[in-house]
């Protein structure tokens, strides 16, 4: 009897080990760690604070659906690098803020706070095209020194990688995310001045600066 119980225990243990191994085999982890180049162009004449929250810096997209394997995709570090690099080159002066909205340094024209709204991806077997595709959507917020909203806009980014280029699904997806992040940086940089509220804000600032310069010259 004792031997039978031991046998059942052993079978249970083996079943558990097999189940855990199978589950682990279906879980994919991707950690994206990209470096991005600084944009080429003239900076806007603004002093801007940039607040990247802990959620943003450590952002991990997790998905566990019945029709897909489990995916955990960490884009936090890469998107922190991207936003710090791009926003750091976009303005006359950029201050990285450790906290918001408290303890703001004086003299900021704007505070920019990005948030991840959505991340989606498709695999080649789902689309029947030999391409991994990624979409990322960011909600962008710009506040003035008093914490009032100046502008809100959305950045959508797209990246793809053909399957033939890479060895594993994880590597292909990481590559597609890096392409999407580069696209997000490009849209952030080229689209900033197209947001009507920001366009007006920059024009006001430029007017104020030129009036000050005229006053100084006189």
């Amino acid at each position: 009897m004792n031997r039978l119980l031991k046998g059942i225990d052993a079978i249970r243990y083996l079943t558990l080990v097999a189940s855990v191994s199978l589950l682990a085999a279906c879980a994919h982890t991707v950690s994206v760690d990209g470096e991005f180049p600084a944009p080429v162009g003239s900076p806007h004449p603004l002093t801007v604070g940039v607040y990247l929250s802990d959620d943003f810096r450590q952002f991990t997209y997790s998905e566990n659906r019945d029709d897909r394997d489990e995916w955990n995709i960490n884009t936090g570090r890469a998107q922190k690098n991207l936003f710090e690099t791009v926003l750091g080159s976009m303005f006359k002066e950029t201050v990285n803020l450790a906290q918001y909205p408290t303890n703001l340094p004086q003299g900021l024209d704007l505070v920019i706070v990005p948030e991840v709204r959505e991340l989606q991806f498709t695999m080649p077997r789902e689309t029947r095209v030999n391409i991994f595709e990624v979409w990322i959507k960011y909600d962008m917020h710009a506040y003035n020194q008093q914490g009032e909203s100046v502008a809100e806009w959305v950045i959508t980014a797209y990246g793809k990688t053909p399957t033939a280029f890479l060895k594993s699904q994880e590597a292909a997806l990481a590559q597609a995310i890096n392409v999407a992040l580069r696209d997000a940086g490009a849209t952030l940089y080229t689209g900033f001045e197209r947001v009507p509220e920001l366009q007006a804000f920059i024009a006001n600032k430029q007017r104020a600066l030129s009036m000050k310069q005229t006053g100084d010259n006189q």
Binding site: V40, V179, G185
Partner: protein, 224 residues
């Protein structure tokens, strides 16, 4: 020992032999090459299409084959150029027509950097290599007496690329070069699979690079 020597012979045979490829290069020229000393060429892949992407390794291959400072062709690697000009040559922001270069040159920092690189020509390559059909099957088995594969497999590949040559300084289209390559690869397996691979993309690359060299250099330099 006999088996090993047979295996090596087959491997060497496989390395030496390859499938056949045909490459057709067409050229449409609007002006003669004017590449001078100190000028450089940028070769970039188009990546805006939703269902294919010009392969970075093809762009790399054309660039490396064409790059020959002694004969007067200096090529800036794609990645280096795209990073240096970020974000103006990304898939979504890259100029699609030569006229769009005007707008880009209105940005002083971009113009300065292009001049610093000495860019004379921008070559945009658009296209891809695809497997168009495949047939046959190979079966492998392992037994107490040994292992082996038997069967026959074949597949066709097709490359279709078009290179648009932009004269950056004169802001005009200098011409176009197209490369169409086709090839069939075979894999007979008698105990050991013997791949006879048609290097379709590589031959398209070599053909395009040779034609580009002739295209970009002034007539007397090209014949050197």
């Amino acid at each position: 020992m006999k088996f090993l020597s047979a295996f090596f012979s087959v491997s060497v045979l496989a390395l030496l032999s390859s499938g056949c490829t045909t490459v057709v290069i067409d050229e449409y020229r609007r002006s003669t090459g004017e590449l001078a000393l100190g000028d450089s060429v940028v070769i970039l892949g188009r990546r805006h299409s939703s269902d294919y992407e010009t392969e970075p390794d093809l762009i790399d291959c054309v660039g490396k084959t064409l790059h020959n400072p002694k004969s007067g062709v200096t090529v800036i690697p794609e990645r280096q150029f795209v990073d240096a000009m970020y974000p103006w040559f990304e898939p979504r922001t890259a100029p699609m027509h030569i006229k769009s270069l005007d707008k880009l040159m209105d940005i002083p920092d971009v113009r300065d950097r292009m001049e610093k690189y000495g860019v004379k020509y921008i070559v945009w390559i658009d296209g891809s290599t695809e497997t168009t059909s495949s047939a046959g099957s190979i079966g492998c088995s392992i037994g107490t007496a040994g292992a082996g594969c038997f069967g026959f497999g074949t597949w066709d590949k097709e490359s279709d690329y078009e290179a648009s040559v932009w004269d950056f300084r004169d802001q005009e289209l200098s011409g176009k070069i197209s490369a169409d390559a086709q090839g069939t690869s075979y894999m007979p397996a008698i105990v050991v699979p013997i791949p006879l691979i048609a290097r379709v993309q590589n031959n398209a690359c070599k053909g395009m690079a040779a034609q580009l060299q002739e295209f970009l250099l002034p007539p007397q330099s090209a014949s050197r």
